[in-house]
Amino acid sequence: MKKTFINLGILFLLGMVIIVSLFAATYKIRHAPNSFLREYQRPFLKAIPALDVKFNSYYIAGITDDHIYLGNITAPFDVLIANKAITASQNVKIRIKGVENATVYKSAAIKIDPPYFYLADGVKPVLYRGKIGEWEAERFDYDSGAYFQQLVPIGKTSFAIRTAEYKTLYNTLGKVQIDSPRIRLNSELLQKQVDGVFCTDGMLMYNSKLKRLVYNYRYRNEFIVYDTNLSIDYRGNTIDTFSRAQIKIGYTTSDRSTKLLDKQTTNIRSCTGGSYLYINSNLLAKNDSEGWLDKNSVIDVYDLTNNSYKFSFIIPLYENSRMRDFMVSENILIVLYDHYMVKYDLQPGYL
């Protein structure tokens, strides 16, 4: 009897040790430091009291000279407008002219490009446009066959898109506009490494100061800078060493779906402002301590004018939660955490 319990006790500990070490091994594999270094600028951010926006489904739609606009992924027609000091906010609902109870797919996103706002739904696909302040949108005339996964306005009549190439279904960058040619793709910009879909995933941005489009890959250390005619300026590299997308694709015959099995995300999200590209990296540098990325979000800053790494800074936790979304405009940094919006002043002298 006693011996049995001793045996059970030993086996209990053994089982626990096995599972915990599996967990630790997986964690270690996924969080191993990489052979690159970061140069931190500290203290860099000056925090300004947060605004409780009540929901954790907001994303940053845009920042203008006076206001910050948030869209809501669970309520695609809702817009939250905050003043630049983030001391006050109001909610508005976008109306579609002549349509009662309009619907859009969940992937629809609001883009702010003064004096207009856009509601872009690439699945349907449909694009609505209206004036900021009026919040009444009209269907914007553009090629109705142009499906897209991402869209950014690059002027009053044209938009950069990321779409799927007709035949291969690979991700492709392109441009849609009112005038002919209404749609143009450049399949040379994105370079396939694994499957052409997951491996080329990334973030599409427009830098209005430099009049350049930037596409930052999610799973490799590269960003593409190209002009509004879709000709490439250069391919820039981030400081880490992941030149190949580290992803594994799984195909299940029973439910006919392709899934991303394993991935090493290098760039979580990015944005551009001024002459800079801000990348929220997911990789631990050699001079970062273990667990560093659990406590902070690291932003690496690149100068787009001369394709160089400038420095890094951290965005700390707020109320114990990590940053969900961020955007830089002039010398302010807007960050969303769970249901809070926080504004940081980027201290002058660095930018």
Binding site: G15, L22, F23, T253, S254
Partner: protein
């Protein structure tokens, strides 16, 4: 599983006819039932996993705890379950089988506890109807089986009973 089930029924009848050691007989029945439940659980779970091993690999790949070892575990876990089920069928290996069942159930339980505390949303990869349970139900279910395996090993582990067991087993085979 059928062989184990059949033998259990036969043995159950034999034990009912045998009246000399009512205490041991009861213990024997309990051990048989526990083993049978484990065989049922493991064979069912292993079969559901192996029938769609592709899907199981994908599910494991999404688990924050096992993603690095998904292909190995997709085959390893069901094969281990079948091996343990086989050990539980034969009386000579049953005690080892019960210890193994205990260890495996402890591992599953610890896995669930870690998942519940460290991951926001993870699909369950247990296979078949076992996937319909939510994580808390799953935890209760697993702890139940851990307790069963403890009862089984304790009952089998007593030296006098162990001898009696083998005696009973002999009678069973003789009949």
């Amino acid at each position: 599983m059928d062989a184990g089930e059949g033998r259990t029924v036969v043995r159950f009848c034999c034990l009912l006819m045998q009246t000399k050691k009512p205490d041991n007989m009861k213990k024997q029945i309990v051990i048989e039932i526990i083993s049978f439940l484990f065989i049922l659980l493991f064979v069912y779970a292993a079969m559901m996993k192996l029938l769609d091993v592709e899907k199981f690999t994908v599910q494991l790949g999404q688990s924050p705890l096992l993603m690095a070892f998904a292909p190995q575990f997709a085959w390893g876990v069901p094969i281990l379950e079948l091996l343990i089920a086989a050990m539980l069928i034969f009386s000579r290996t049953r005690l080892v089988g019960l210890y193994a069942s205990f260890t495996l159930m402890v591992m599953f339980t610890v896995y669930i506890i870690i998942i519940l505390n460290f991951a926001a949303h993870v699909p369950c990869s247990c296979g078949g109807i076992l996937e319909d349970m939510n994580w808390t139900e799953h935890l209760t279910f697993n702890i139940g089986f851990v307790v069963l395996s403890i009862v089984g090993t304790v009952l089998m582990g007593r030296p006098s009973e162990a001898r009696a067991n083998s005696a009973t087993t002999n009678i069973t085979y003789a009949s």
